[in-house]
Symmetry: C2
């Protein structure tokens, strides 16, 4: 078995170890939303603390009805019987790969766990880059040739996956790309898996992301969860919306679910059922989170590009994906893994190498997550959430200054880590 | 993919559908512990309701240290670094099958999900009956020949599994059987997976179950959880104790865990960390649960044997596994599946066919779970837990009467369901 611990989770644990050992590290590696639980959700969890039955494998009727309503408000009429919940969208994606079968076409780069899950289920990921300047959806023209090539070799290709908006690039695939990809999925008879866990964190509140499910409801699965929009990653809850009429796929998915995880935690299901009804107190929280994520990630994006790295401007979520190619000579590194190691060891910047996301090893791209900059305490994080300008909060300003200083050193010739640490007395910012 | 929804979960959902449709069914199908959450655990969950970080894949240090202490109090010194938690022991078992690799030797019959999980990971279960009159551990002599036969055919056999005490038979493997099995595992170089989730529910408080980990700590994995002893099934938490020095196995297991489920729900981990310290308020609860389970399952066992079915007397947990072979002529059924259908349709008794547990289809054995007889409300269930004689509580007495009446009808010649329902005005007892 070639799979290793999820790169994101492993990097986070490594950074935490360094912090405990006294190193100063700005944690830009981990995609945890970095914000507190909304009190209304705590109240719902508390009210459900006596709930200890397993309940239905697919999740409680309340949760499935609420999730159906969530999608209906986004223009997608949804049968609650075709909603399946799980302890995170990660296990739902795993069960989908098992239930759909065949190889899966993935964007290159894409979230670390898609390809690793494909390996685990004995499927092969077919990595296809997005159209230039985009992220999250493989280039339809290249998908066609890749699928036809794989099929000509006797392989079964069952699905194509998109991430809207994207992790790691932070970008939103063009609507035209999605339309072409949907046409192609119809032509090639592929199920589309649309991971929309960052959908409610598209920065422009007027932007209306185009889900493939709108265009091809009969062949699109949407997965989402509350880990990002409501910062409930550690609670472990996700939901999937299966294609219209896909009762066979549902049965296969529930078969897998029943043998691997049984059901999501019952108290969490009850809180999630409330969350998916989208009461104003929670939509306001999501809106505030979206503003904060957008503000900070744009500022970070600007620090990277100011220093000479190249990146697409983030459109959603809390990631930026800078390319250090133009600074290659100054860095003296040949791969993104070496780059990430140098950024961590010399500059105290914890990021993930693009290679972990399936990018070519020699491309000097790294994924930068900005959501752990909001503070180390609930108080700091709430201040960030409510600040008219979060960038002037001292702990965020110091982290940005550390980042800018490090990048400037890189742009003008690297300095050893000790000198940097000595010069910038920044606090450690990392996952709680 | 041939796997279908877990037989236990599917049966429970079927029975619930029948109840909602107005049918009277005594739910003897589902292994949910049927007792309320202890208030101390609710308080811990409530206190942790703000906890939303993913945390380490293996579980928090507190949880792992507490679980290590739990095992140490059972004579098994445990390195917290070799403890891995998961959202239930079910996903831990799944990840173990993936991480150990090869085929797995299972007792026949055994819990429905072992073989189904083996199918999912592309391994083949090798079903071996226990020594006569026992359950939960495959007969060592037959294991030897089965493994040698499989290996002679080029198969890889990686592990052998025991369930102590057993589901579905409710029995505890003899210590001599365990000793012989451990010797054999050493001889054949098999990892032993010891599912001890019912360990604290052995009815005789003086009995000291012999774990294979005591005899062969270097090759035994123990899994357990809080679903049975503390009725937290719906919360989803389990822990595994890996073999001494098995850091490679740990790494492979965490790799799987990180790609499938990330970590158990954070608030649940905190409550579980408290539970595994075994404070007196919780050991008293476990003791009261053990007494209740033992009293009711013994009473149910006696109803079955009084009617002419044959069963081993349960020694732990809340299951009995009667064999209707002696009543075959009266029943007019050829398989355990037909038997279970007749018991449900004609007599309002929801049980699971032995075939679901890997038993020969033609053997007329069914698994009877008694833990949902304690009541439908928290009040009833607490009354059952605290009653000097739970069997005289009206709702338990009525269910036992219904059962005895149905079995007497079977023993003396079947009657149609309507007549029975008309004659016995029993309440519906089922999962909440």
């Amino acid at each position: 078995m070639k799979v290793t611990v999820s790169a994101t989770l492993a990097a986070n644990e490594d950074i935490e170890r360094r912090r405990r050992a006294g190193e100063r590290v700005v944690n830009l590696a981990f995609g945890e939303a970095g914000l507190p639980v909304h009190p209304a959700l705590r109240r719902r969890l508390i009210a459900a603390s006596g709930s200890n039955g397993y309940g239905p494998v697919a999740g409680t009727p309340d949760l499935r009805a609420a999730a159906a309503g969530y999608w209906e408000r986004r223009g997608l009429p949804t049968d609650p019987d075709l909603v399946v919940s799980g302890p995170g969208s990660k296990p739902l994606l795993y069960s989908l790969l098992l239930a759909i079968g065949g190889d899966v076409v993935l964007p290159m780069p894409s979230w670390v766990s898609y390809a690793a899950q494909a390996d685990l289920v004995g499927s092969r990921p077919i990595m296809v880059p997005p159209p230039p300047g985009e992220g999250g959806a493989p280039d339809p023209d290249r998908v066609r040739s890749a699928v036809l090539h794989a099929r000509a070799q006797g392989r079964t290709v069952g699905s194509v996956l998109v991430t809207l908006p994207d992790n790691p690039t932070g970008t939103l695939a063009n609507q035209q790309t999605i339309r072409r990809l949907v046409q192609l999925a119809e032509e090639l008879d592929l199920t589309i898996i649309s991971d929309e866990i960052y959908r409610d964190l598209v920065h422009d509140p007027d932007a209306e992301p185009l889900s493939p499910a709108t265009l091809a409801p009969e062949r699109t699965v949407i997965t989402t969860g509350l880990s990002k929009s409501l910062a409930l990653g550690g609670w472990r809850i996700g939901v999937a919306r299966l294609p219209d009429g896909a009762h066979d796929l549902r049965d296969r998915m529930l078969a897998v679910a029943s043998e691997i995880w049984s059901s999501p935690s019952a108290p969490v299901q009850q809180a999630a059922a409330y969350a998916f009804t989208e009461p104003p107190e929670l939509t306001e929280r999501v809106a505030a989170s979206r503003r904060l994520h957008g503000t900070v990630v744009q500022a970070v994006y600007e620090r990277f590009t100011a220093a000479g790295a190249v990146a697409a401007r983030p459109q959603g979520g809390f990631y930026v994906y800078p390319d250090f190619g133009p600074l290659r000579d100054r860095l003296g590194v040949a791969t993104s893994s070496e780059l990430a190691a140098v950024l961590l060891d010399r500059y105290g910047l914890g990021v993930l190498p693009g290679h972990a996301f399936g990018d070519e090893p020699g491309e000097l791209r790294v994924r930068v997550a900005t959501s752990l900059l909001y503070g180390e305490t609930t108080e700091q994080r709430l201040s960030a959430l409510n600040a008219p300008d979060p960038l002037v909060l001292p702990w965020i300003a110091r982290a940005l200054d550390h980042l800018a200083e490090a990048l400037e050193h890189i742009a003008t010739g690297g300095v050893p880590r000790r000198a940097l640490n000595h010069a910038s007395l920044i606090p450690t910012v990392a996952a709680s």
